[in-house]
């Protein structure tokens, strides 16, 4: 069993991270905490993708060195280089995640301007009963 876990430990870690992130997004009442959870959640997916591209047995970074234009093409061996595709995808995913975070933070500032708090339950209370706003504000 231990061996089984160790064989794919990256995947296990990503599952744990994902659960942490998901829990923070759903269970935490503070909006910043939710965003932190979102970041963890997204990075865990990136970790998952990067793990897909790993090749054991001496594969290196997918940068081909020392070959001029097309010469020596026969020297390139697939097994020597890591799978570049997941890396490409994840570059996009990182950018997407930071963009989402940016927009979410902008909304966060709007929310704070309006309610002067970032706790979800307090905001809900204010929305239900606008008079409680003054006591908190």
């Amino acid at each position: 069993m231990l061996e089984y876990i160790l064989a794919k430990y990256n995947f296990w870690i990503y599952v744990v991270l994902m659960m942490i992130g998901l829990y923070a997004m759903m269970g935490k009442r503070n909006l910043v905490k939710k965003l932190i959870g979102m970041n963890i959640f997204q990075t865990s997916i990136i970790l998952f993708f990067v793990s897909i591209g790993v090749k054991k047995g001496g594969a290196t970074v997918p940068i081909i060195m020392g070959h001029g234009h097309g010469h020596g093409q026969h020297l390139i061996k697939v097994a020597d280089y890591l799978n570049p595709l997941p890396h490409v995808l994840m570059l996009t995913a990182i950018v997407v995640s930071i963009a989402t975070t940016g927009v979410a933070l902008a909304t966060l500032i709007l929310i704070y301007k309006r309610y002067h708090t970032l706790e979800e339950d307090e905001i809900l209370a204010i929305r239900k009963d606008p008079s409680s706003y003054k006591t908190l504000g």
Binding site: K34, P86, L89, A106, T107, I111, R127
Partner: protein, 500 residues
């Protein structure tokens, strides 16, 4: 020219979006004509592409000249052609409609609004046109991000609603991405056509099952299928008028499109039937969605919120059509995507016009509205009848196919649910029609004697830029109905997998 249509559909609004802030920087008034002009291009190209598909079958377009599994392929088949035309048409009409609403709610931010509108359309069209799973994710995020920005600018509760939408929407998109990851891990490919060829050998792999589960959950979040709908009513109710008009009809429908793609193009139908009981689960979720959506809608007095709950029920219709797994059901689902987009669009247009004229959105505000806004209300009646499934409006025909699907599948509970739901819709809409057209209850007829002067009610119609899209949409709703036979023969029947 025709060969470049697929690229044109995406590139034109994208470039347009990049240029809009530059134009708006100095000449703010030019933003709207510019956006309209830009939006006409994809409509034209999408129409041309659809005709091309009808004439000579699906075709692909390799971006950058790289062959499909390696490069990104844009693929237009019957289903995506239809969706493209739908999105482009609704986008254009929504942009025409936006003018008065934007100048009222979003004064001084026209460039931003039109940029985000164009980006939204780009994102939605990109989702539909691309044949690459990861590219769908990218476009999904473009449309979601522009949606977040637009919605957050709405009335009082909007930022909070948007924040929830961002959190839940990100979970949805990430689940989708996770699904892509699992499929990539199992097959090594991201191209839908390529995957569809590889996958059948792997149907019993647990990775595929998990990937499929994440796909469906992610997409279900985006389309607001019942237990995952929590973000939807708040977001669409609080969004500014022109924004909900644009996003509400399209976002859920495009998500439904992704679901149909995944279940019927990416996976073969027998995967969803024999390997996973997902069809049955989805069907019962749809039943719950329809019932809960209907009940919640009945409980609302704010008509905009009511419509969002109706949308939840309508999403249930589409999912139900998918879940019965037969030809009439899927035909009905696809037809309902089109029809429902038109109907919901019409409803939001009308609500937008009514709020623009300063009338509230509560049902009692509709009193005597037929005298103030006769054309708007006439269009409302048409949309309402279509929602109740009264022929010859288009709602009847999609409902017919959906019911046929449930009958063929011998799912009687589903059939009864659909029928009851159209009765619920009748209650929902006739109470408003009654309010708008008839004298207040207890007031009595005011016609028998002309002795007492009626209070003079001045006609106060919405401006032309709002009224024209409303009337066009109403006309489309009527025309689509009798034409549905033709649409199905020309387009939809080719979109249904041959296995059915």
């Amino acid at each position: 020219m025709i060969d470049q249509f697929p690229a044109l559909i995406i590139v034109a609004p994208l470039l347009g979006a990049f240029l809009t802030p530059i134009i708006g920087w100095r000449y703010r008034q030019l933003c709207r004509p510019w956006a309209l002009m830009i939006l006409a291009i994809p409509l034209y190209a999408a129409g041309g592409a659809l005709l091309q598909v009808i004439r000579s079958g699906p075709f692909g377009y390799n971006l950058g000249g790289w062959a499909p599994p390696w490069g990104i392929e844009y693929r237009i088949d019957h289903l995506s052609g239809l969706m493209l035309v739908l999105i482009a048409a609704i986008g254009l009409l929504a942009a025409i409609n936006a003018k008065p609403g934007v100048s009222m709610d979003l004064k001084g931010k026209e460039p931003h609004f039109y940029t985000l509108l164009l980006l939204q359309i780009t994102g939605l069209m990109g989702i539909v046109i691309t044949g690459d799973l990861f590219n769908i994710f990218v476009f999904l995020e473009i449309s979601s991000l522009s949606g977040y920005g637009l919605i957050a600018h709405g009335e009082d509760g909007a930022p909070m609603a948007t924040f929830n939408y961002i959190i839940i929407g990100t979970i949805g998109a990430s689940f989708y991405l996770l699904g892509v990851g699992y499929l990539y891990m199992a097959t090594g490919s991201l191209n839908i056509a390529d995957l569809a060829a590889i996958l059948p050998n792997l149907y019993h792999s647990k990775m595929i099952l998990v990937g499929f589960a994440f796909f469906t959950t992610g997409v279900a979040i985006k389309m607001g299928l019942f237990p995952l709908h929590v973000w939807m009513p708040d977001a669409y109710t609080t969004a500014p008028g022109p924004v909900s008009t644009l996003i509400a009809p399209l976002m859920t429908k495009v998500a439904a499109y992704i679901m149909i793609r995944i279940m019927f193009t990416l996976f073969q139908p027998d995967f969803s039937i024999s390997v996973v009981p997902v069809a049955t689960i989805l069907g019962w979720m749809a039943v719950v969605a329809i019932i809960v959506g209907g009940i919640k809608a009945l409980a609302q007095t704010d008509i905009k919120r009511m419509v969002t709950y109706i949308m939840i029920a309508e999403v249930g219709y589409i999912v139900m059509g998918v879940s019965v797994m037969n030809r009439p059901g899927l035909t009905g689902a696809i037809l309902h995507i089109v029809n429902d987009a038109c109907m919901i669009f019409g409803l939001f247009l009308i609500i937008g016009a009514i709020s623009y004229k300063g009338h509230g959105r509560e049902i009692y505000h509709f009193q005597n509205l037929n005298k103030k806004m006769p054309f708007t209300m006439a269009a409302f009646v048409i949309v309402a009848l279509s929602m109740c499934g009264i022929p010859p409006a288009c709602g009847f025909f999609s409902k017919w196919y959906l019911i046929m699907g449930t009958i063929v599948a011998k799912q009687w509970v589903f059939s009864i649910t659909l029928l009851c739901s159209s009765l619920v819709n009748a209650v929902l809409f006739f109470r408003i029609i009654e309010k708008a057209y008839l004298a207040p209850l207890g007031g009595g007829a005011h016609g028998h004697d002309d002795d007492h002067e009626e209070e003079v009610i001045v006609r106060d119609e919405a401006p032309a830029s709002m009224l024209i899209p409303i009337l066009i949409t109403a006309a489309i709703i009527i025309i689509l109905g009798p034409l549905s036979g033709k649409i199905i023969a020309a387009v939809i029947q080719h979109a249904v997998p041959a296995a059915f």
